[in-house]
């Protein structure tokens, strides 16, 4: 590939921050560098919290007396609400801070905000920020007793989304080594894509493909362990799952795609293209869905779509991550 292609945003591996001396989860910032056994443990623990759609949700007292702060510097509905539900089902108290309208707009620095939250005896921060590395930054500056969960930072990572997608995939395909997963869309700007690829690789998925316009495909695609395809017609064939990504117009500076119509014609997931998947193939989308931009409306609501299942699974997976990252008492 040509050297004019854009490159990925990269942070140093965060493993030293994420695990404690015993190798247990301390903060959850990125999939990168986490041992496969820990990812498997997250999935198994999530299974313990999973309730079928026809069962009543049950609360467990695991985080009773703990306070979790949803610190969202960037808009989010699904992620914030499922984190909130997860925390509440673990019996934690939850503070939702919409930082777009909070004291930061009055000039308070992020560090001062953190000091104030520490003073309120908060135990865990769930952070969404438009800047890559924001959660790492907070980990380095926050009091020792606080755990930090990355709920999406810029173009870098969205590890809880990746884990809930792994959980959903596992429900359909217990043996990952035998499946092919395709990620379609804006690989370059997508923190979801980056975390998905890392998780798919760590959990031993047989084949990972990406389909994207050249302008939205990072130069290092092949070194990420994925096989790039130029067209949907080639790349979707025989796959067990396709993960559609949203066109992230808010992160695009310059012209990456000619027009939405053109993008849909080339990369939109239509009913006809869904037929190229394996017979049991499923359609996934992390949301928010832009109907008619990257995916046909009928596919979103169609029989192959597991999009709402992903949302529901998000609660159990986030319960697992919150409860595993909780600081243990030393008494």
């Amino acid at each position: 590939m040509s050297s004019t292609q854009p490159t990925l945003f990269r942070l140093p591996p965060a493993a030293q921050y994420q695990l404690d001396e015993e190798g247990r989860l301390r903060h959850f910032l990125t999939i990168e560098g986490l041992p496969t056994a820990l990812l498997e443990e997250i999935l198994s623990t999530a299974q313990s919290f999973h309730t079928a759609s026809d069962q009543a949700a049950r609360k467990v007292p695991l985080l009773r007396g703990k306070t979790i702060v949803n610190l969202f510097f960037e808009a989010s509905t699904r992620t914030r609400t499922t984190f909130e539900l997860a925390a509440k089902r673990l019996s934690a108290d939850v503070l939702n801070l919409d930082m777009a309208t909070a004291a930061t707009t009055k000039g308070e620095s992020l560090l001062d905000t953190l000091r104030n939250l520490e003073a309120m005896h908060c135990d865990m921060f769930v952070v969404r920020h438009h800047q890559s590395g924001a959660a790492h930054f907070i980990v380095r500056h926050v009091a020792e007793h606080i755990s930090v969960i990355n709920a999406g930072d810029g173009r870098h990572a969205h590890p809880t989304q990746a884990m809930l997608d792994m959980f959903t995939l596992r429900q359909h395909f217990p043996d990952f080594s035998a499946i092919t997963v395709v990620i379609v869309g804006d690989i370059l700007h997508s923190r979801v894509a980056r975390s998905e690829i890392q998780a798919l690789r760590a959990l031993g998925v047989g084949e990972i493909r990406v389909i994207a316009p050249r302008t939205l495909l990072p130069r290092e695609a092949t070194s990420l362990g994925v096989i790039p395809f130029k067209s949907m017609e080639e790349g979707l064939v025989g796959a067990q799952a396709v993960i559609m990504l949203r066109l992230q117009k808010e992160r695009m500076h310059g012209s990456f795609v000619p027009s939405e119509t053109e993008y849909y014609r080339l990369y939109g997931l239509t009913r006809a293209r869904v037929e190229l998947l394996a017979e049991d193939g499923i359609v996934m989308h992390p949301g928010p869905v832009n109907r008619g931009v990257e995916i046909e409306s009928a596919v979103v609501d169609g029989p192959r779509s597991v999009i709402l299942k992903q949302v529901r699974n998000g609660i159990a997976v986030r319960m697992a991550i919150l409860s595993m990252a909780m600081r243990r008492h030393a008494w």
């Binding site: 467990v60 007292p61 697992a320 409860s323 909780m326 243990r328 008494w331």
Partner: protein, 178 residues
């Protein structure tokens, strides 16, 4: 050196099974729900469930997430939980292997009530030992072991089921005799 003693529990289980049968008859309970607490309690419950030929499938609880020491031990994946859709107005027999501090029973009761409002809950244990830290008493007991606070008893199984009793202090007593 600590002493190990292995005790077969076949006879105790059979006797406990008979006690459960007459308990149900005396109380006039026709459709009991048997619930075993993972791991050893489920083995005991399976044996009692078969012995009493209960119609309702055996319930299984993993009470780890309701334990009061989970903040110290950390969260682990649960063993399979299987419960009837509702315990409303049901007579529940809660079954465990060893009753010691009573904390497991407390956690199990909390979890049980997440499934509804049972008409009654009775506690059945294979082994009762001293050391209660919570006001809990069994309704039916297979055997009572007079163990000290440092002694340990663990049910191994499921087939065959046997109790392993470890007395760390025995070595101190035995030492001078050698």
């Amino acid at each position: 050196m600590s002493s190990h003693e292995r005790v077969d529990v076949g006879a105790v289980l059979a006797h406990l099974g008979d006690s459960v049968k007459s308990f149900l008859t005396t109380r006039g309970i026709n459709l009991p729900v048997f619930v075993g607490i993972h791991t050893g309690g489920v083995w005991v419950a399976q044996a009692l469930h078969a012995h009493c030929a209960v119609a309702e499938p055996l319930g299984m609880l993993d009470v780890s997430y309701h334990r009061d020491d989970v903040a110290r031990t950390g969260v682990r994946p649960l063993k399979p939980v299987r419960m009837p859709a509702s315990l409303d107005d049901r007579h529940v027999l809660l079954i465990d292997d060893v009753l010691f501090t009573g904390r497991t029973t407390r956690a199990a009761l909390n979890e049980l009530f997440e499934y509804g409002r049972p008409a009654s809950v009775s506690l059945v244990v294979l082994v009762e030992r001293p050391g209660r830290e919570i006001p809990v008493a069994p309704d039916l007991t297979g055997m009572r072991l007079e163990l000290g606070p440092e002694d340990r008893v663990k049910l191994q199984g499921p087939d065959p089921m046997e109790l392993v009793i470890t007395r760390p202090n025995d070595s101190l007593l035995e030492e001078p005799a050698r």
